[in-house]
């Protein structure tokens, strides 16, 4: 039954499903499959078995998911389904939040696509202001999403952009778990011995009563305290920092990095993106030129980049390409858009503050071959801002379309957009509107790029420069 030929084929298939197959081996696999229906059947059976095992393992451990995590394919699959799923469910599921029992909080403001996963497993996407929420997970699904909730003790929390926050209670303490994105919390005085606990990548904080902001990336969290005192513990080595008003601390997963409360007096008004560090959403890829020249060196350089950012320059530059997503704006039907999201404050060495004279310098590429009949030759840029001394300030986007004509330069472009061209998104009862409002002095949290059609937008890098330079 199990011939030598099958043994070779199975060996390659094992490498394929274990993600260790090389280009040469894949070429060998293709040769074996080409014209051989029996080998093709074996291929399908093998891959189907692999996926079936993943599904079974995941299904049998739904209640243990937090312990064991989701399989890679499952994560990819869930991620893939994410945008559409939410967009569709927005229409399909009706009937309020469904979590009116044991209300823990209520929604006091929101915009964009927001998803609520209650503890009983139900998922709700038609949230409205005033809806009560029990314990569960609230997520912002798009760059333009934000939601403000008021906890039943009067504390207020805002998540913004692509963010995920779980909230629950443990022995009288309120527990917030921010796995990604941005959180701003205004905590009322908590009972003695029962501080609010905030968990985020690499850190755990105890709060008795204060206003603070948390920006979480997968590798680190920045806590910025505006009032009161927050005790932040770095999880991997247990070291603790007391962060007082007007101070911040960055807790990374790497215990070699400095973990120290820093006075919030220094800030930067200039900034340059660095991929993959700042990628929040999008398809990141590298030109293969370097690998083609010397495939043996590339892994070594990649390893070096973990320890030295200068080694990054030896690698082919990263490019961030848009991913499709259902985009929801108040007063409009959900539409298919393509977007990337770039984090700023979570990973930047200093908070980035917006100067009135600043402008964005954006380098990238669009694929003119993918242009449709109209609305092709532009993208929209937006950013999220925070007040410099606490709290979510809002979202800003370019009022006008950004027209490009990159034909002359291999579809590449370099454009500059002054900060003054960004307008604030004001939420309304029925639809949002754009109002002229200066963002000067605010802290920049993230920025995003959206296209209405898939025009293959790729961002090479973004800089914030001052106008005079």
């Amino acid at each position: 039954m199990h011939s030598l030929k099958n043994a070779d084929l199975d060996n390659l298939l094992a490498k394929l499903v274990d993600d260790s197959i090389t280009a040469e081996e894949l070429a060998g696999l293709e040769k074996m499959l080409n014209g051989d229906v029996s080998a093709q059947r074996r291929y399908f059976h093998y891959l189907d078995l692999h996926m079936d095992l993943q599904e079974r393992a995941t299904q049998s451990k739904i209640h243990l998911r937090t312990r064991f995590g989701l399989s890679k394919w499952k994560v990819a699959g869930v991620a893939a389904m994410f945008c559409l799923w939410i967009g569709l469910s927005y229409f399909a599921i009706s009937g309020g939040s469904g979590s009116k029992s044991s209300a823990f909080a209520r929604i006091t403001g929101m915009d964009g696509l927001i998803e609520w996963s209650a503890q009983d497993g139900s998922i709700i996407n038609d949230l409205s202001i005033g809806d009560p929420l029990g314990e569960g997970i609230i997520e912002g699904l798009n760059s333009n999403s934000w939601v403000e909730i008021e906890l039943n003790d009067g504390s207020e929390a805002v998540i913004s952009g692509i963010s995920k926050l779980k909230f629950s209670q443990n022995q009288g303490s309120k527990v917030l778990r921010l796995s990604q994105g941005y959180l701003s919390v205004n905590v009322t005085h908590q009972p003695k011995g029962k501080p609010m606990l905030v968990f985020s990548p690499g850190a755990r904080a105890e709060v008795l009563g204060t206003q603070f902001n948390v920006v979480a990336s997968p590798e680190s969290t920045r806590y910025t305290v505006n009032e009161g005192l927050v005790r932040v513990k770095r999880i991997n080595d247990g070291s603790v920092q007391e962060v007082s008003a007007n101070h911040y601390v960055v807790a990374g997963l790497d215990s070699e990095e400095e973990f120290k409360s820093v006075l919030l007096q220094d800030y930067s008004e200039e900034w340059k993106s660095e991929f993959p560090r700042d990628v929040r959403r999008g398809h990141l890829y590298q030109s293969e030129k370097f690998t083609a020249i010397n495939p043996a060196i590339n892994p070594a350089v990649k390893l070096l980049t973990k320890y030295s950012s200068s080694a990054q320059r030896l690698l082919a530059p990263y490019r961030l390409r848009t991913k499709s997503c259902i985009w929801f704006e108040k007063g409009r039907k959900p539409e298919l858009h393509f977007s990337v999201n770039i984090g700023v404050s979570a990973t930047s060495p200093l908070p980035v503050r917006i100067n009135e004279e600043a402008k964005f310098k954006i380098r990238g590429r669009i694929d003119t071959n993918m242009f449709g009949v109209d609305d092709s030759n532009f993208f929209i840029v937006g950013f999220t801002a925070n007040r410099a001394h606490g709290g979510f300030a809002g979202k800003y986007i370019t009022k006008e379309k950004v027209d490009l004509n990159p034909k002359d330069n291999n579809d590449q472009f370099e454009i500059e957009i002054p900060i003054s061209e960004f307008w604030k998104v004001e939420k309304g009862e029925i639809k949002d509107s754009l109002v002229r409002g200066s963002s000067a002095g605010l802290e920049l949290l993230d920025l995003w790029f959206v296209t209405y059609q898939n025009i293959g937008l790729e961002i090479f890098d973004v800089e914030i420069i001052l106008k005079d330079e």
């Binding site: 094992a14 499959l33 074996r42 891959l47 189907d48 079974r56 995941t58 990819a76 699959g77 569709l88």
Partner: protein, 175 residues
């Protein structure tokens, strides 16, 4: 039934079949996930044209196939992509195989029960464990990691053989 709710119902029921198909044609999970996402969006966009007298799966698979071809065109120069010719062949083979796949999945449950405790634990670690679980197991037991992966390869073959034997016994062999 409301049209949107009907779409959600059908997609909920069958999206795993589409995922499996796309993954088998694009065996890189990140790329496959992207394509599945685009397929789901396309299906929704074209939902008005769906004839509900006809089965959903073949309709959805047609879109999946077109998106696979588009993806193939985009990455034509990449080495880690099957050729157009092979993709066409695989597409035909997959259509033939479709009727027996569900039966094979049902038999897998029985075959898993036949594995010994150690093998079952290894499968659990590989598929249900967190990222790096196999490496941790190698460190914990002092076994070399590649030997654990060889063991997994052996277990998969054992499961495939078990499924095929059961299919033959039931007169349903396809290969």
């Amino acid at each position: 039934m409301d049209q949107t709710a009907e779409f959600v119902r059908l997609w909920t029921q069958y999206h795993r079949d589409v995922e499996r198909y796309v993954y088998s044609m694009i065996p890189r999970s990140a790329d496959a996930a992207e394509v599945v996402q685009v397929v789901s969006v396309k299906l929704w966009e074209k939902w008005e044209n769906y004839d509900n007298e006809r089965p959903f799966i073949p309709w959805a698979m047609r879109f999946a196939w077109l998106e696979i071809l588009k993806w193939r065109q985009r990455l034509a120069r990449e080495k880690l992509v099957f050729s157009d010719e092979l993709l066409q062949q695989m597409h035909s083979t997959h259509e033939e195989l479709d009727p027996v796949m569900e039966m094979r999945r049902k038999i897998l449950g029985k075959c898993l029960e036949k594995l010994n405790q150690e093998d079952r634990e290894l499968v659990r670690l590989r598929y249900g464990g967190r990222h790096g679980a196999i490496k941790e197991e190698a460190e914990r037991t002092g076994k070399k990691m590649h030997l654990l992966y060889y063991a997994l390869e052996r277990i998969r073959v054992q499961l495939l053989n078990c499924i095929e034997l059961n299919m033959q016994r039931g007169g349903m062999a396809d290969a």
